[in-house]
């Protein structure tokens, strides 16, 4: 037991944890800065609590052998799908989407944690395939189904943005496991052809968001307002920023949803380009450190789990950061470790825990 303990601490990737904690520190500072004017709710204290819980979960997940989780994944997957159906039936509606489940004082989004279940399920499926350069068509379809069941349930909530975050798990998984260039191209083509069809399925507000993204001046006072104000906040921050608590865009309320989706714009305004580079640098460090762990993983299961996590992390980063700077349409996708929100923070730390678990086991055998 003592041997296990010392080995655990020895193989624990402290750098990853410190990177995540440093991000949390920046996040908590800016959440405090952007919400101090609102006395109704103590966002800072809540976020601090969630970070604490997240770190505890990180250690718990890191301590568990990921093979054990993979072994239990079939019923965990069923449980997750059941939770999504439950949310759809009895969930709590916030801003038009039924994506919340409320337990006493705690509200939770099952769609967030489900991501990790899908990552592990997909990793197990891909790692158990017989060795070969490319996957067969049937294998591709089966792999897609694993991710698409929750995707469809989340779309029904309706929360298109969150449902999209499942797709990188498929994309990264299939790409690494191997898809024939012809199949890859036809997949991309099929997706492109599906776009006009999906246009018909989109809700009016979703169409409006995409149109505004393509042409922000279309409605500068309405939907384009958020992105315009976000860009003003970031640009006015300059090289070193206006200083914490000094961002006029943030403090005077010009920034929309500034402690959640647009927290990175607050960083840009108050901490400047320096803060942006530091934050993006820490996120990049986590991503590449994880990729390194994937490459040095003991087996393919570990490799696919870590790469699934990387795919989800990175998708969140480009969609959120891209939105804040105006490169991506407005979607309610949080920035891992940065945006306010329990589900998001908890999921980010659990995902990191999975990476830790893979890393810890790399020299076994």
């Amino acid at each position: 037991m003592i041997g296990f303990r010392s080995k655990f601490w020895q193989d624990f990737d402290w750098l990853l944890l410190f990177a995540a904690l440093f991000l949390s520190f920046i996040s908590l500072t800016e959440i405090y800065s952007s919400t101090m004017a609102q006395s109704s709710e103590d966002f800072f204290a809540r976020q601090l609590a969630w970070v604490t819980v997240g770190v505890v979960f990180l250690f718990v997940v890191a301590a568990i052998d990921y093979h054990l989780i993979a072994e239990h994944i079939p019923w965990l997957y069923m449980l997750a799908v059941g939770a999504l159906i439950y949310t759809l039936a009895l969930g709590h509606r916030v801003a038009g989407s039924k994506s919340w489940v409320v337990f006493g004082p705690v509200a939770f989004q099952p769609s967030e944690l489900t991501k990790m279940v899908v990552v592990i399920a997909m990793a197990r499926y891909l790692s158990e395939l017989r060795i070969g350069r490319y996957m067969t068509l049937m294998q591709i379809v089966k792999g897609c189904v694993i991710a698409l069941v929750p995707v469809i349930l989340v779309i029904r909530q309706p929360d298109l943005g969150t449902s999209l975050t499942y797709l990188p798990v498929i994309a990264v998984g299939l790409f690494i496991r191997g898809v024939k260039p012809v199949a890859l191209i036809s997949l991309i083509l099929g997706f492109v052809l599906l776009l006009p069809v999906s246009w018909l399925v989109l809700k009016p507000y979703q169409k409006e968001r995409i149109l505004t993204f393509l042409d922000p001046e279309r409605d500068p006072t309405g939907r384009g307002y958020q992105v315009t104000q976000s860009k003003i906040a970031i640009g006015s921050g300059g090289l070193i920023g206006k200083g914490v608590f000094n961002g006029s865009q943030n403090q005077l309320g010009y920034l929309p949803t500034r402690h959640t989706d647009f927290i990175f714009a607050v960083v840009g305004e108050e901490l400047g380009f320096t803060g942006v580079v530091a934050t993006l640098g820490l996120l990049t460090f986590i991503v590449f450190r994880s990729i390194y762990h994937a490459q040095t993983a003991r087996d393919n299961l570990g490799l696919f789990i870590v790469m699934g996590v990387v795919g989800i992390y990175f998708f969140h980063i480009i969609v959120n950061v891209g939105m804040v700077i105006g490169f991506m349409p407005t979607t309610g996708i949080p920035l891992p470790f940065m945006s306010y929100g329990g589900s998001s923070v908890l999921t980010a730390f659990i995902a990191l825990g999975l990476v830790m678990s893979v890393r810890r086991c790399r020299y076994v055998n």
Partner: protein, 611 residues
């Protein structure tokens, strides 16, 4: 495939993903570099525009007083509802939709106001005026929906208030929002869209004195449009007050006695040119213009056949009728064509150039002296005076005495009246002057036309010995006192013998005091003199009956009859006989003046509103 090979393959693919991530991060990093380093200045400016708002502090217009410093026009606070397009979370359509019901306007009306501003290409930060002079309920709606409608705000604006409503409306004029065409004229170079300017009367004439200088405050506002702090403030400088020469008591007395008649009254001090009362009726309430005048009110004012907006005292010309005889007498005496002791036999008519001209008294005045011809207003006597003078000298003397040309009153759009001449007829009608036309001119008919202001001015000039003082409502000395430029009062002295002045003045004393036509103007102890006039609206032969064909009535009086202090010209449109309709009007004004002079006057309370 060997496991080793497979692992290498998977690692290679992972590396590709790594490169893709690096590429994407570089693109994002470039975006931030561009915004925060390259274009940072631009965004800093945008952030400043966001948080800093310049709010105008409109300057109140100067007050207008009467000669005893009683307020005629001042300002009251009023509230306007504004929309600021910049940073609005709503489309203009949505704003109109959400707001309209709360401030009792239709959505279309709100959008109409917005579109007018858009058409002017106003910058986004310029507030759009949606509704002015709003009710307490409207303000409550906006204040209570501050968070839902951050783009809507309430602004305080001083608004013109005329305390006496219709009283002296034509002298005071009114204010209104500057129009597009006025904005482009050099006169209003310092004004901007939305400013209030004087549109008529004194408000227009002395606009530059009455307007103040707007101030502003630069404040920090949050996204809800709430002020969070103040950066700079420049107080508004109120406009200068204007003290007029109007005597509110005389003005009120004149307005009340004219009442519902159409007409005009001018009372002035001939020694100085100061106007004591300037009445034109029917009148209008200038308060209607203080808030943007409604389309219905505007239409009813402009289409009213009685033309309430017309200032009859200075902008309308009328045949002077027998009032003109006084000037004919003076002209004849000065030209030497009229002997002061000469008599004319009046059989009730006279024949000149083959035409018969009637006298008002059908059975004739008999042998008539100049004095009696004026007292009893004998036409036949003056036919002869006119005929002896000829049109050339008539027009020369009449113009010298102040008729047929502008008096120079400090009000816009004064009419010059008309004194005909051969040259004039040739120019306008391309026709020769007929000697017979001179006969009509001699009794103030035909082409002769004067404004009530001219009648008072010329009478004052004649009775003070040929001294024409430019009539004015504001004393230039008062303007100089407040450091404003004021042109000196123009004084014209024309040559006239004192004997001529004495003869016509004595005769006009007779008009009032010797059972003449002006007996109704008599005031015991105050030697009132004057001359009545009854001017035909249509030819006698037309023989038309009805109010609109009744003669116009004149009485131009002054007192005392030597060295007069006050001249009153009263004109009643379609009033009928001057002796009946106009003389009592002048009497009321003169009586008020006299009582005030003796200290016996009790001012009426302001509660008597003339509507």
């Amino acid at each position: 495939m060997l496991q080793r090979e497979e692992i290498e393959l998977l690692r290679w693919r992972i590396s590709i993903i790594g490169y893709v991530i690096v590429a994407v991060l570089l693109v994002l990093g470039f975006g931030f570099w561009n915004a925060q380093v390259v274009q940072s200045g631009y965004y800093q400016q945008r952030a400043e525009q966001n948080r800093i708002r310049e709010i105008p502090l409109p300057a109140p217009r100067g007050r207008i007083y009467d000669r005893e410093h009683r307020i005629l026009a001042d300002n009251r606070p009023s509230y306007n509802i504004l929309l600021i397009r910049e940073n609005s979370p709503h489309t203009l359509e949505q704003s109109a939709e959400l707001l309209s019901a709360g401030i009792s306007m239709s959505k279309e009306e709100v959008l109409d106001r917005i579109n007018r501003s858009l058409k002017r290409r106003d910058p986004k930060f310029r507030p759009i005026l949606l509704k002015e002079d709003v009710s307490v309920g409207d303000i409550a709606f906006v204040k209570s929906h501050r968070f839902e409608l951050p783009e809507i705000s309430v602004e305080i604006q001083p608004r013109r208030r005329y305390l006496e409503d219709q009283l002296a409306a034509h002298a005071l004029g009114y204010v209104g929002e500057i129009t597009e065409s006025e904005l482009t004229s050099p006169e209003f170079a310092n004004f901007k869209s939305g400013d209030q300017i004087g549109k008529a009367g004194l408000e227009r004439e002395y606009n530059n004195i009455l307007v103040g200088k707007d101030g502003f405050k630069r404040v920090i506002v949050n996204s809800g449009g709430r002020e969070m702090g103040q950066l700079a403030r420049e107080e508004a400088i109120p406009g200068n007050d204007l003290v007029t020469t109007i005597d509110l008591d005389l003005q009120r007395a004149a307005e009340e006695i004219v009442g519902d008649h159409a007409g005009a009254v001018v009372a002035l001090d001939p020694r100085t040119g100061e106007i004591l009362a300037l009445v034109s009726r029917p009148s209008y309430d200038p308060n209607l213009f203080a808030t943007r005048i409604s389309a219905i009110d505007w239409k009813s004012l402009t289409t009213d056949p009685r033309k309430p907006l017309q200032n009859r005292a200075i902008q309308s010309r009328f045949s002077p009728g027998s009032v003109f005889k006084v000037f004919m007498a003076a002209a004849g005496l000065e030209a030497g064509t009229l002997n002061p002791v000469q008599t004319v036999y009046c059989p009730g008519y006279a024949t000149f150039y083959g035409h018969t001209f009637a006298c008002d008294k059908h059975d004739g005045h008999g042998t008539t002296s100049l004095h009696n011809a004026i007292v009893n207003s004998c036409n036949v006597f003056f036919y002869n005076v006119g005929n002896d003078l000829g049109i050339g000298r008539i027009s020369q003397y009449a113009r010298m005495m102040g008729l047929g040309r502008k008096t120079g009153i400090d009000l816009p759009n004064e009419d010059a009246g008309l004194i005909p001449s051969e040259e004039w007829k040739q120019r306008v009608y391309k026709a020769k002057w007929y000697a017979g036309e001179t006969i009509s001119v001699a009794i103030g008919q035909g082409y002769v036309a004067v404004t009530p202001m001219q009648a008072a001015w010329a009478m004052g000039g004649l009775t003070t010995g040929g001294r024409l003082k430019q009539p004015h409502l504001v004393n230039p000395q008062d303007l100089k006192k407040i450091g404003m430029p004021g042109d000196e009062i123009v004084e014209e002295d024309y040559p006239i013998h004192q004997s001529t002045v004495d003869i016509v003045s004595t005769a006009m004393w007779g008009v009032v005091n010797e059972q003449g036509t002006g007996f109704r103007a008599k005031i015991d102890g105050f030697d009132v003199a004057g001359k009545t006039g009854t001017a035909q609206v249509v030819g006698k032969q037309a023989n038309l009956k009805g109010q609109e064909y009744k003669d116009n009535a004149w009485f131009v009086g002054f007192a005392p009859y030597r060295n007069p202090e006050i001249v009153v010209a009263a004109f009643i449109e379609n009033g009928g006989w001057g002796a009946e309709a106009a003389a009592p009007v002048a009497h009321a004004v003169l009586e008020t003046y006299y009582k005030k002079k003796l200290g016996q006057f009790e001012a009426k309370l302001n509660t008597i509103a003339l509507r």
